[in-house]
């Protein structure tokens, strides 16, 4: 048999043998086969070789059982299939969860922190008094309420006297009055 690359006729015969030839070329080849004895011989040789090969490979497969390996391979494939399905399910389902988390964009956190710092600084800045020219004034805290303080104890008095630093406040005035009453009462009891 000649090489097919050198002789396209062999390719045609193989296609014919495989029953894969379109109808028109098939009819043309059949006409040639009727007329050409050598071509018929080629076809017969090819048919015999093809049949022999098919039988041989079938015999080869029968002589080499692969049931054990086949079951093993199938089991492994099924495992892969199931794992693939699980992986796909996991990758698909959390997408909505990931979207929920990502509703707060990552850049919002530093932006919020910066905003808080700026607002804090602004409030602190605004807390200062200002002069007429806009410069910051010295803070006079003379009118700021103070905590009551104890005077140093008088040698002539057994109980300490209380003096309040805050005079302007009405509540402190009342408190001072109450304290005076309590001190007077305490002295009277003594």
């Amino acid at each position: 048999m000649n090489d097919v690359d050198d002789n396209p006729e062999q390719a045609q015969l193989l296609l014919y043998l495989a029953n894969e030839m379109p109808p028109a070329p098939r009819q043309a080849l059949e006409k040639r086969l009727e007329a050409d004895a050598d071509l018929r011989d080629h076809l017969a040789a090819l048919r015999e070789a093809d049949s022999s090969l098919n039988q041989g490979l079938a015999g080869l497969d029968a002589a080499e059982p692969i049931e054990v390996r086949l079951r093993s391979a199938e089991r492994e494939t099924v495992r892969s299939l199931r794992q693939w399905h699980i992986d796909r399910s996991i990758n698909q389902t959390p997408q909505s969860a990931r979207l929920r988390v990502r509703r707060v964009p990552f850049w919002l956190y530093p932006l919020t922190a910066a905003a808080v710092v700026l607002v804090g600084l602004g409030l602190w800045y605004l807390s200062f008094d200002r002069n007429a020219d806009g410069t910051l004034a010295h803070h006079d805290d003379s009118d700021t309420p103070r905590m009551p303080v104890w005077d140093a104890p008088d040698d002539n008095e057994a109980a300490p006297d209380i003096e309040l630093a805050v005079r302007d406040s009405d509540s402190f005035g009342e408190l001072e009055e109450e304290m005076s009453k309590l001190i007077a009462l305490s002295r009277a009891l003594q």
């Binding site: 097919v4 390719a11 894969e20 093993s72 199938e74 892969s80």
Partner: protein, 198 residues
Amino acid sequence: MAVTFVRTTEPAGEQLTDELLARRLRDGDVIAGESLARRYSEQLLRYLQRLTRSEQVAEDVYQQTWLSVLEHLDKFTSGAGPGGFKAWLFRIATNKSNDLWRSKGREHRAYDGLRLVTETEAADAAAVPETAEHVEKLRWAIDQLPDSQRQVLLLRYYSEMKFVEIAEMLGCPLNTALGRMHKAMVRLKQLLEEPRTA
């Protein structure tokens, strides 16, 4: 989170083609995938055994093939080429096999040399029955074929694909695929007729 293995319902009278099973597998029907895998498991494993000349390697390539199928399943369902799922499956298997041997080219050549020596010695020493000897000789003869010829021969036999599909799969003209098949048949005939040790 619970993962369920769904079985999609099939319309009455609809034939379970490869493409339908593949589509169902893509939609989450693992049972359809198992059916699809079992449908071609023996053909594919036999093909790979003959192609790689090793049962272990064949099994590895078999698994790699299916992993690749799963990885690219969306591509297949969106545009199946000629020959459908089976041609696609065998194309992936052939490519995986080629990749493997390319990456292990040196080991491959060394293995071939070793195998030739051991098999020649075994053939001289063993007194095997005629049938078993014929089978063994056929296997040996197939192993002697060049990769390109063996590929076409085995694809033709195990995948039962048409020559046009095989040519398309291998990316070569139809005449080239036919030429390789023809050369393989001629060479096999010669090898089977001559003494094995020759």
